[in-house]
Structure formats: structure tokens, C-alpha cells
Amino acid sequence: MRYLKTSEAAALLNVSPNTLRAWERRFGFPKPQRSPGKHRLFTHGEVAALRDALQEGLSISSAISRAREGLAADANSLVGALVSYDRERADAAIEAALALRSVERSVEEVLLPTLDEISRRYSVESAAWAFAAHWATDWLRRAIRLTPPPVRPVSIVVGDASRDELDRDAPYIRALELFCVRAGIKVLSLSARGVAGIGDAANVHRPNLVVVAGGHLDDDTVARWAYAIRLAVGAMPLAIYRRGAERPRTRGTGTTVLPSGAGDAQRALLDLLESDHVAATPSASAAAAGARAQIRSVRGFQ
């Protein structure tokens, strides 16, 4: 993936940096990422697609529309590969998407919309969905394994409350884990079904935050799991992801409902983790007092 600074992207498009920033405000395209120093970083593929579209366009809007159509072709080709049960073509399609976008945007703009489209078109009981979900989970797990070790001094535990990898929420949960790992967060992913030995796992990992993700498991099972974690490492913030509540909101108990999009959820988690309240690892003495409140908050959101 090749990135361009604002001045480089502006030079490629033969416009001034101010014009490029004006396009971003008015049209939302090209959409830059931010460097650690908060500078804009444009993907070369987007800028090149726009440059070509500008040659034949009659307005900036129509050129951007054409460039976007070209970029959307990746999602269509991935849908075609997955419903044809063609793993190699699917790998090639996501590679093509990665040539133009970052990993996060490839997942958010190509992989997850593709899965949504397949589940909508064929239902989650279909063979097409089974193949697509398995391929996507495999790809996301591979991407997590290939990510460099975490650099932030923060960690989270993800309690997976989805049914299995065929659950519609499962790819979103894996995507959230991938985004968090890529953001330098240490992530421990556990099934929210099992509480045996959960204290040992939590003590080794020392999480700053717990995420309950997925809506398949019932409230009592999830509450028992959250209680076991809290008993082991003490009170800590709890976030809920894709568990039935669509609107992000925060309760007085400290439970936060994350947005349903994986990227938005990762940003919300980063905000939570970087706040002073979360940065300090909670003491074990607060465990018993906070546990009941946390269980209530988990139940309250179902």
C-alpha cells in the first residue's frame, strides 16, 4: 500500500493542497487517513483513480462518482468469487482491494459489505454464506496473526457471545479484533460461554477493558462470564458490541454500547482506553462492589 502526503497527492492531481482539502470537505473524497502525527495520508490508488476520472469528467462530482464506481468494483468481484465458491478468486479480489486501500478500509468497504450482501441475498442458512463466512473468518484471523506485536500499554478482553463463525456478527467481531490489534492494543479473545479458568486468563492478561461482543448467548451466560472476569481482576469498564443495541450510548454504570461498524467501534474503544479513567488498571479491592453493578448493566442492555 502506497500512501501520499497532501502535497504529493495535490501534485499528482495538478491542484493545490487547499483544493484537495476543499474536496475532502465538500465531496468526502479522496478520503485520507491520518498519520501518527495527524497528517493526512492519501492512498495512491484513490488519487490515481480520481486523476484518471478527472480527465473524462464534466464536474468534480461526476469524476468522483466515476472513481468511486471503479473502487466499488472490488466488492462486486469479491461477491462474485464467494458465491462461486472460488477461494483463489476471493483471495485475489481482496488483494486487489488492498492495493488501493488500507487493511481497515478494505475490511470496512469491501469485505464486510460483501458478507452483508451475501447474507441478504442468500440468507445465513445458505451454503454461499457458510463458504463466505468461513473464508472471511479465516482471512481475518490470518491478518491478525500477521500484525506486528502490540505497542500500546493497554489490553482488552473480548468475550465472544456469537453462536459460531456462521453467526452474522462473527466477522464483525473478528474485524474489531483485527482493528484493535493493528492499533497496537493487546487483545485476548475468549468465548463468553466458558468461565472455568477465566480468572487465570484474566490475571495473566490484566485487561483495561472488557468487550462483550455478539448477540447469540443469553444474558445470564454473559453476566456470569463478566462476573468471573471482574472477580479476578477487579472493576473495569465494560463495552458491548453488536448485542442488539444500535445507538451508541453510555450508562452511569460505565457500560458503553459501541457503534455497530467495526471501524467506529475501534475508535470508540480507543477513546475509552485513552481516557484517564481507563488508563489506570483497576484494583482488585473494587471487584466485589463493582461486579453486581456490571452484571446489572449487562442485563439492562439486552
Binding site: 474536496w23 473524462e56 464534466l58 464536474s59 461526476s62 469524476a63
Partner: protein, 171 residues
């Protein structure tokens, strides 16, 4: 014209072309603000960058000087499928819309014919289709905003480009 070589075989021969009618003078203008690119008025060369240097929010389009809009004019650019390709800042204000919201939509989402007695050649869609094909004749028709009754606007329709398209200037 077929000529014969010394060996009697047919061969093509260059002939002087008849005098062509000089093309009307053209100008480059911005698809957003309508500002005309600065030229001396004699020979208009294609601009180095197609992005408007004045506002940065439009592409430079070429049209005949007598039909091209001026800065602040309300105008649209439509393709031969009658889809909206560009909406100027003046047209955005006149029609209460934003270009990114209406681009690629059909022209009737923005404008409707408003003259019940117009001739076939002055019909909005026919005039746009002819202009988008490159017919150099300038046509006028009467239109109204699609969502508003009681307002009549004169639309001046002429070809523009590149790519070939129809310029609809609202007066």
C-alpha cells in the same frame, strides 16, 4: 479522387480541401463557478489543469463563447442520457440543491418542461439530446424547477465538452 500512375495503375491523389466554415470562437469556463479561463481571445488552448484555478470546485469545460455562462450564472451540464453531470453554484442556489446530491440523476429530478405549446424541436429532452450529440445549434426552451410551480425559466441549450455534453444555462 482516383488518379493513374505511369503504369496505368490506380492511385490516390491529394487534393486541396474546400474552405471550411470557421468554427465559432470558444471559451473554457468552470462547471462550478462559471468563471471563464483567462485567454487573450484569439486562440483558446486547452488548459494545463482541468480543475478551475479560481474556485477549485469545478472542471473547465469548453463551449461557444456566445452561449457559455458567466461567473455566477445558473447552469447545468447534462449527458446524452439526460443525466446530471454538473450543477453550477448559481444553479445550486436557484434549485435549492447540492451538486454531489444530484449528480447522475435524471434531469427531470431538477427541471421540468414548462411550455405547453412548445414545438417538438424545442422540447427539453430533445434539445438536450441534440446538444449532447454535438449539434452546434443553440436552442431555447422554457422550464421550471421540478418541485416548484409558478416559476418559469428560459433554458439556453448548447453543446459543450469534453466529453460531449449539453450545457443548459438558466436565465
Amino acid at each position: 479522387m482516383v488518379n493513374r500512375t505511369a503504369h496505368g495503375r490506380p492511385a490516390l491523389r491529394l487534393v486541396v480541401a474546400p474552405e471550411l466554415e470557421p468554427a465559432p470562437p470558444s471559451v473554457w469556463f468552470c462547471s462550478h463557478c462559471g468563471a471563464r479561463s483567462s485567454t487573450s481571445g484569439k486562440l483558446v488552448k486547452p488548459p494545463v489543469s482541468r480543475v478551475c484555478g479560481a474556485c477549485g470546485l469545478g472542471l473547465l469545460i469548453e463551449a461557444a463563447e456566445d452561449v457559455a455562462p458567466r461567473t455566477g450564472d445558473a447552469f447545468l451540464v447534462l449527458d446524452r442520457a439526460l443525466s446530471v453531470c454538473a450543477v453550477s453554484h448559481g444553479a445550486e442556489q436557484l434549485l435549492a440543491t447540492r451538486e454531489p446530491d444530484v449528480v447522475n440523476r435524471h434531469v427531470t429530478d431538477l427541471l421540468m418542461p414548462a411550455d405547453a405549446e412548445e414545438e417538438a424541436g424545442e422540447n427539453l429532452s430533445v434539445a438536450v439530446a441534440w446538444a449532447a450529440r454535438g449539434d452546434s445549434a443553440t436552442r431555447t426552451t422554457v422550464v421550471r424547477p421540478a418541485n416548484t410551480f409558478g416559476i418559469r425559466l428560459t433554458a439556453r441549450i448548447a453543446p459543450c465538452g469534453p466529453q460531449r455534453a449539453a450545457l443548459v444555462v438558466l436565465e
